[in-house]
């Protein structure tokens, strides 16, 4: 989108924020390489903590709906994430959950397999490298003689962005492919007609298998499951047919099947395909038909070769799944 000096249209205002994230989503924006210059030509970045020094109070002081597009990456893990999600929702015309964490909870969402108390116990008490004889645990407020210091409160659960504020669009991926971000950005910048609110954009409707070039047969049978390092991949047969769990059948296409092209099974970061809410359930459904055994004992033996089904099938999607967290 080259900037046109004769076009009086004001530049878009763009904000990028991270919640509970690793920073990879922000880097995926930088991975647009020289196209980033086109983005900056079409949009002013008003807020981007990884790259610019702007304080929260400056964002809070902006008029409502004054940011055209906010890409929010990362899950909502603490009161600071929640506060900024609410502020950015108020200030933005379009709020996008950018990346697997904001969309489904992502890797931080695996913390929903435990509780805040368990995590604190492990980190501040039990871990091999912890030296904490006074059993000090983080407090959200602490009075010193200069005044009161505060840090954000960590929640018991990890939330997706959509569980905290209303979200207009979802861009999946860990991180989203930079080319897909450019497509979405171009659509917004050129004023093209946008899909209905709540859509997943920058990805396909169908699954990764639909695009995958590996050789597939109709009758997949699995006698035992292998972890990727336990087997010599032949580089051309469907991973599932080799006994390696590949999340392809329950994962939305759009990444260009990058992991499988690089000879690594799909891990499911693009989330479920259209019309599916729970990718793990769909994966269990798909794998169930492939297990090559009829007696309960034999089936159990094969299933026991899947070491951690919950963690494997819900690697990126636990907080957005049907159960959402470990039941306590």
């Amino acid at each position: 989108m080259p900037s046109d000096p004769t076009n009086p249209k004001p530049k878009l205002k763009l904000a990028i924020y991270w919640g509970a994230a690793c920073g990879g989503c922000c880097v995926s924006v930088l991975d647009t390489h020289e196209k980033l210059l086109d983005i900056v030509a079409a949009a002013d970045l008003v807020f981007w903590p990884i790259a610019m020094d702007i304080k929260y109070k400056d964002v809070e002081a902006l008029p409502d709906k004054s940011i055209d597009l906010t890409l929010f990456n990362g899950a909502v893990r603490n009161s600071e994430n929640k506060h900024m999600a609410q502020v950015l929702r108020k200030k933005s015309k379009i709020l996008v959950a950018y990346g697997a964490c904001a969309y489904m909870g992502g890797i931080p969402g695996l913390a929903n397999f435990t509780t805040k108390n368990e995590i604190f116990k492990r980190v501040f008490d039990e871990s091999e490298s912890t030296l904490n004889p006074e059993k000090i645990k983080p407090q959200t407020e602490y009075a010193v003689k200069e005044g009161t210091l505060d840090i954000p409160e960590m929640f018991n659960d990890v939330y997706t962005l959509n569980q905290v504020v209303e979200v207009d669009y979802f861009i999946p991926g860990c991180p989203p492919q930079s080319e897909r971000l450019l497509e979405v950005f171009a659509a917004i910048a050129t004023g093209a007609e946008l899909p209905p609110k709540g859509s997943v954009v920058g990805a396909n409707e169908k699954t990764n298998c639909d695009e995958c070039k590996r050789k597939k047969s109709d009758n997949k049978v699995i006698k035992r499951f292998y972890r990727p390092w336990e087997i010599q991949d032949d580089k051309e047969t469907c991973f599932l047919e080799q006994g390696v769990i590949c999340m392809g059948p329950a994962t939305r296409g759009g990444c260009g099947v990058r992991c499988v092209t690089g000879n690594s099974p799909c891990r499911g970061c693009y989330g479920p395909p259209a019309m599916v809410s729970d990718p793990g359930a769909k994966m269990m459904s798909a794998i169930g038909t492939m297990i090559d055994a009829d007696s309960p004992e034999e089936i159990d033996k094969i299933i026991d070769t899947i070491v951690d089904p919950a963690g494997l099938f819900y690697r990126f999607s636990l907080p957005s799944s049907i159960l959402g967290r470990k039941i306590v």
Binding site: F155, T289, I303, L323, K326, I327
Partner: protein, 144 residues
């Protein structure tokens, strides 16, 4: 304590549902805690159904199909069994007690067995108490 468990049962059309029907037409008495959903084949029961039942407050989920070898569609009940074994392992990891999910084969002539099965499961869940799924998930709301 006045706990009345709710058990959601997915029954296949050809054997299990007909078996339950036989229990009814034979006027057998059994626990009224069951909510039956008829599906064409136990192979149709997606793990999503079972998880959604728990999420919406079921204290137990019962899955019934034709006996092995008797499936109207030849292999649907084997697919059901394999999925069931997977989901059994998954719900154990998620902290749902194993007695809340049960798979049994019921033929069209086994009305009595069906009635006994429902009674047994109801009793087991009465002992286990209410499911904690709904109460755990209710705490989770952040949208203001």
């Amino acid at each position: 304590m006045n706990f009345r468990p709710t058990i959601v049962a997915f029954l296949c059309n050809w054997c299990a549902y007909t078996g339950a029907d036989l229990a009814g037409t034979s006027r057998m008495r059994y626990a009224p805690n069951i909510r039956i959903i008829r599906v064409m084949c136990s192979g149709r029961i997606d793990p999503t159904f079972i998880l959604t039942a728990f999420q919406q407050g079921a204290d137990g989920v019962l899955v019934c199909g034709c006996h092995p070898g008797d499936c109207h569609y030849q292999t649907g009940n084997y697919k059901c069994l394999r999925r069931f074994k997977l989901i059994e392992k998954y719900i154990a990891q998620m902290g749902i007690e194993p007695e809340r999910l049960k798979l049994e084969w019921i033929s069209a002539s086994e009305g009595k067995q069906f009635a006994e099965l429902v009674n047994e499961m109801t009793k087991a869940i009465l002992n286990a108490g209410p499911s904690k799924v709904k109460s755990t998930l209710e705490v989770k709301h952040l949208k203001s």
